[in-house]
Amino acid sequence: MIRRSLLKLANPQLLALIGVLLINWLLFPNFFRVTWQDGRFFGSLIDVLNRGAPVAILAVGMVGVIATKGVDLSVGAVMAVAGAVAATMVVAGYPAPIAVVAALVVGLLCGLWNGILVAILDIQPIIATLVLMVAGRGIAQLITEGFIVTFTDPVLIYIGTGSFLGFPMAAVIALVLMIIVTLIVRRTAIGLFIEAVGVNRAAASLAGIRSRMLLLLVYSLSGLCAAIAGIIVAGDIRGADANNAGLWLELDAILAVVIGGTSLLGGRFSVPLAFVGALIIQAMNTGILVSGFPPEFNLIVKAGLIFIVLVIQSPLASRLAPPRIKPVAKAAAK
């Protein structure tokens, strides 16, 4: 069993992450240097973890949604809403824990809303979540009344920029969340049911799986994760920016999930690999920054990566590299 999980580590995503890090090291020899300063670690590697945390958290929520053959475009906007809620509440004098809980509840409700549109009203996920993607920023602006709400609350700032055992708080939160969600989906039957619904919803329903409850759950989780990411980003800049917080991050999150090996057609998924996918994206971003290339390269490199991943997942590639397990018998005619 242990041997098996060690072998599992040698998967393409981790190799890709190591590859990107090595390229960064070639371009920038100090890339792996980590120093201890003011009670915390510093260095490019730590930076990857810290900067990558919001997208990694989004990816943890997004992977379940995509496994059910859905997609959640609203996570960036939900980040802005959650950030706005937390910031305005602490500014209005509420204690930080209450503000944080309120922001998380709002994120959960946003996710639930998406879930209701998809599961109960049977709206296509891309359209259903597009509603909140557009409306979310408006809601966030209404909450902040159009201003960037800045705050000095130490707890919120700690969530965004603090450190825990020397590691950045954001990265610690992302890692803990990833582990909790992985345990929840894999130690219960939820993971299997998500995959079953993603592969064949009609068959899942006939096999007695409550697919509606399951969809409500995955979209709610995605909303909750977006809220966590939103609070971190707000804490990081010490303010809630309704227009720019989480802007376009839904696309990075989707990319992270796809790099993590989950097909947009639903089915098999892995939470840890989606997390690794997010780190790969951030490692590229950081690498381009520290190696002195103009940041414009970032977008082109990212596009190139998406292209490669999609080609690998395309039907053409699977024809060129047939599955290792041979079918025992020919499929029956027709």
Binding site: R187, T188, A189, I190, L192, F193, E195, A196, V199, N200, A202, A203, A204, S205, L206, A207, G208, I209, R210, G267, R268, P323, I325, K326, P327, V328, A329, K330, A331, A332, A333, K334
Partner: protein, 505 residues
């Protein structure tokens, strides 16, 4: 030569897909001024033949002959220029364009290169009037009923081709009055000398409108006959391949005492799907369901399992009234259901054989009492062995297995839930002989273990072999319940064909 009299003829058509022979030397001749019904169960080769006649497929061997000369039809548009038009079950026009545009799409009358809308609508009005339709040609097609759309589709096909009209299940979504209206139009066209091919599952309609009938079975031509000399029983017998000599020749189960009543459906039905039926099912019996495709057998299975919810009638399980409106209700009562369309509704193609087997049991256990991997392996291994599932590994995706092994896995999925009642819809369709035997063996074993089973099958020999009782479905209605000596293919064929007095023409 009699050939000259055919408007459209197919001679010695062979069509092979991969190594599957879809049509084996089929001859088909269509006379001008006749309505010719094309009959056969699923997989008989009807649609392949139609696609060859309309140029959608090319025959592997054989000729298509139009007006006495062989032609090569490259595609349906090309067939149209030879006078062959087709109307499909699903109207494939553009619902958001006007009636006139739909009639003339691609052939609009033009005026210096511009569409002459006024002329188009004027022409459309005259054409539609010939079909008894008095509707505004500039109105949107989608605003009209399916029947009207169907008639517009026919008008378009006749206008564009004008010699042969192929109607592929045109009445499937029409009510009785609409069918009558359609038939009036077909009779008119026939009087004008058009040759019409009519495909349907409703035998009554065949006898109401058709002059001759061609029956296909398993890709082979069984016969082409004039309907004047045929009874419904003859037609069903030809479709299902039952000879008179065969009836009564089956071994009957000795009358075993019935177990306790497990299920009692009273007046159970769903509008536009299955007419209300009464059915009592005992422990330890197999109730066979016979009927042609489209007779409502699958719909009956689906409302019994709650896959569609019944809108009238009551059901009681072990004497207690209850409601079964969704599959989870049914499963909670110990039901299981193997659907007809294995690929679309049965298997989870990308998931492993193991997961496919445990999923219903896990669904019953709920989200939080997950089976461990070892438990899953144990369960899957046990059923894999007892059902003889041939897979290199229980962890391989089930889509790589043969149809028969997939079916065994789905059966195992329900057996793992320790069911009291199983509904099997065509459990042996399209699977190899070995798996077929295994599934029939399992049905017998389960009955002996005291389960109640409802098995739907088109294979009459098979239904007869394992059923303790047989119900016959016709036109969405349960029309007969056969016991004891009456369980033989001859009686079943009679029951399927029997015309109910005076209800439908």
């Amino acid at each position: 030569m009699t050939d000259g009299q055919y408007a459209l003829e197919a001679r010695g058509i062979v069509k092979i897909f991969g190594n599957h022979v879809a049509l084996d030397k089929v001859d088909f001749g269509l006379r001008p001024g006749e309505v010719h019904a094309l009959l056969g169960e699923n997989g008989a080769g009807k649609s392949t033949l139609i696609k060859i006649l309309t140029g959608a497929y090319q025959p592997t061997l054989g000729d298509v002959i139009v007006d006495g000369s062989p032609v090569t039809l490259n595609n349906p548009q090309h067939a149209q220029t030879h006078g062959i038009g087709t109307v499909y079950q699903e109207v494939n026009l553009l619902p958001n364009r006007s009636v006139a545009e739909n009639l003339y799409l691609g052939h609009q009358p033009t005026w210096f290169g511009f569409v002459d809308r006024r002329k188009m609508e004027r022409d459309a009005r005259t054409v539609l009037a010939r079909y008894g339709l008095n509707i505004d040609p500039s109105s949107e097609l989608g605003a009209h009923s399916v029947a009207v759309q169907q008639i517009v589709a026919i008008a378009r096909a006749v206008e564009l081709s004008g010699k042969v009209l192929i109607l592929d299940e045109p009445t499937a979504s029409l009510d009785r009055n609409e069918v009558e209206r359609l038939f009036d139009i077909i009779r008119d066209l026939k009087a004008q000398g058009l040759a019409v091919v009519f495909i349907t599952h409703f035998l009554d309609q065949v006898f109401a409108i058709a002059d001759r009938v061609t029956i296909l079975r398993n890709g082979k031509l069984i016969d082409t006959k004039s309907l004047d000399n045929l009874t419904r029983t003859d037609v069903v017998r030809l479709m299902l391949g039952k000879d008179i000599a065969f009836s009564g020749a089956t071994q009957l189960e000795e009358n075993r005492p019935l177990g306790e009543v497990l299920l009692d459906f009273k007046g159970y039905g769903k509008k536009r799907s299955v007419m209300p039926f009464n059915l009592t099912i005992h422990k330890g019996e197999v109730v066979g369901v016979a009927g042609l495709l489209g007779s409502g057998r699958t719909e009956m299975a689906r409302i019994m399992f709650g896959a569609d919810s019944a809108d009238e009638g009551t059901v009681s399980v072990a004497g207690k009234p209850t409601s079964i409106s969704k599959p989870t209700d049914a499963i909670a009562h110990g039901f299981g259901f193997c659907p007809e369309d294995r690929k679309a509704e049965g298997i989870f193609g990308d998931l492993s054989v193991r997961e496919n087997i445990v999923i219903a049991l896990q669904g019953k256990l709920g989200w939080f009492s997950a089976l461990t991997r070892d438990e899953q392996m144990e369960i899957a291994g046990r059923y894999g062995e007892s059902m003889d599932i041939r897979a290199a590994s229980l962890d391989m995706p089930i889509k790589l297995l043969s149809g028969g092994n997939q079916q065994k896995a789905i059966l195992s999925r329900w057996l793992a839930t320790d069911p009291t009642f199983l509904i099997l819809d065509e459990p042996t369709r399209g699977i190899d002989v070995g798996a077929h035997a295994e599934i029939v063996r399992t049905i017998n074993r389960l009955r002996d273990e005291g389960l109640a089973l409802v098995v739907i099958s088109s294979e009459l020999d098979e239904v007869v072999a394992y059923s303790s009782r047989i119900v016959v479905m016709r036109d969405r209605e349960l029309v007969a319940e056969l016991n004891g000596e009456n369980i033989n293919p001859g009686v079943i064929v009679q029951a399927i064909a029997n015309h109910k007095d005076g209800v439908q023409t």
